[in-house]
Amino acid sequence: MRVDLAVVGAGPAGLSAAVAAREKGINVIVIDEGLEPGGRLLSQVHVDPSKPVTERIWIGRTVASSLVRRAEKLGVRLMMATTVWGLFRSGELWSVMLNSGGPSEVLARAVLIATGSAEQPLPVPGWTLPGVITAGAAQVMVNQWRVRPGHRAFIVGMDPLAFATVHGLTMAGVRVLGIANPPPGVPAGDQGVPREVLGRLADLSHLAPSVLMRLGGPVSRSRAVARLACALYVRPVLRVWGAAVMLRHAVVEVEGDAEVSHVVLSPQRPDGTVAGGIRQRVPVDTVCLAGGLAPLTELAAVAGCKFTYLPELGGHVPLHGPFGQTTLPGIFVAGNVTGVESAPVVAEQGGLAGQAIGLLLNGESRDTVEAATAAAGVRVCRARDQASLRFLPGVVEGRRAMEHAWKRGHWDGVTAP
């Protein structure tokens, strides 16, 4: 099978790119491992109380359906339940290697890698027991599979995805008893230090239903006040959707025989070290581990793209230019694979890349493409500014650093050598 553009990943970035590219008249296929298109949109439901009532509930599946309808109407081909396992140069084209019941390969003039990000669960003693799942898995189970993972849950880790999971499980009728930190020390690092956590929760305060959390948010931006607040917060007085926010406790072990039966909690000092005091054993049947997200860059690595290390974007990311072009002509990247951001931002990013690829494959010059995608670039920045959820606090600095790294290397990425 031969196409102009093969998009790997049918999430918001991939679908938006496919639509934009198809609008330029080139033929496009989108390939995804999942059973239906939408990527992580399918499992996300957000409630943002700071927005007006009609915009308060954001359902990812609705966004996905709308993108899929547009794509299908335009004649974008969607190939689901298919795994891409390799990416090789094949003369002037790229060979996208597939694993499914159908064709084993797609030949494409250009490939857009939009494979998103993956969770990085932190190991906890006992974490291999059935009943321990990632925070994202809990969302997939209740919002996509429509099956509860259990009846009594505990969340380990306190980041945006963790709180979204508390909410998601509660909406699905699962009792979430509490949310606490991962075990202190390595490998959790700062993620498990109450003082640091409190600072990061400031980014989330507008999403918390508790008035106290909302008030605590801006106040905790100041280091000194954060320390004081952390020192005073010993017993978990705050509840978020009914779950105890145990800022000064760490889950040190998950117990059970054939499946989860308890979590063991230890009190912590503000710096994360274990404090003296009674350990609690809480009976639960489900434990959700939230450890953050990192770009899923395997295909870009396998193809031979150059990378750069930018923790502000989530770690090792493919070096890329303003249209998503990589150091390999014909390979582009868009979405969370370039740095972890929320769906509205990555959708605009995908749209820009798709538009650029469409123009380039039609033979337009780089100057024309730059001019034509300027408006899309503005939309990306605006979506970034308006994002209610920021996974990575330094993402703007990260994007700037990537621009510099690309310019410094004098990479072109759009013309073959």
Binding site: F88, G102, A118, P123, T128, Y309
Partner: protein, 101 residues
């Protein structure tokens, strides 16, 4: 070097690589014997060689290497070779749609 405190009791027996069931103790031993990159840890312990190819454990191992003085940049990305997902041998053989040389 102190064993990282993963929790009470027997932190060392905590599995880090779920696929190959490589424990924290085994990884720390490899590090104490000189392993300083993800690839070196992989070669010595098999951590990261299983079905998920390190997707689940590599972040934890990067952190353990960092605690031993090797930052994420030096610890490196694991060297990745295709297939990035396990494939049946038939798929590697070509088949419908494969280009012929």
């Amino acid at each position: 070097m102190d064993s990282p405190d993963l929790g009470k009791g027997r932190p060392d027996s905590t599995v880090i690589c779920r696929c190959e069931e490589i424990t924290l103790a085994e990884i720390m031993e490899a590090i104490s014997r000189g392993a300083r990159t993800l690839d070196a840890v992989k070669r010595q312990t098999r951590a990261g060689m299983g079905m998920c190819q390190g997707r689940t454990c590599h972040q934890a191992i990067v952190r353990l290497l960092a605690a031993a003085g090797r930052g994420p940049e030096q610890a490196g990305r694991p060297s990745i070779r295709p297939p990035v997902r396990p494939v049946l041998l038939e798929a590697l053989d070509g088949g419908e749609g494969a280009s012929t040389e």
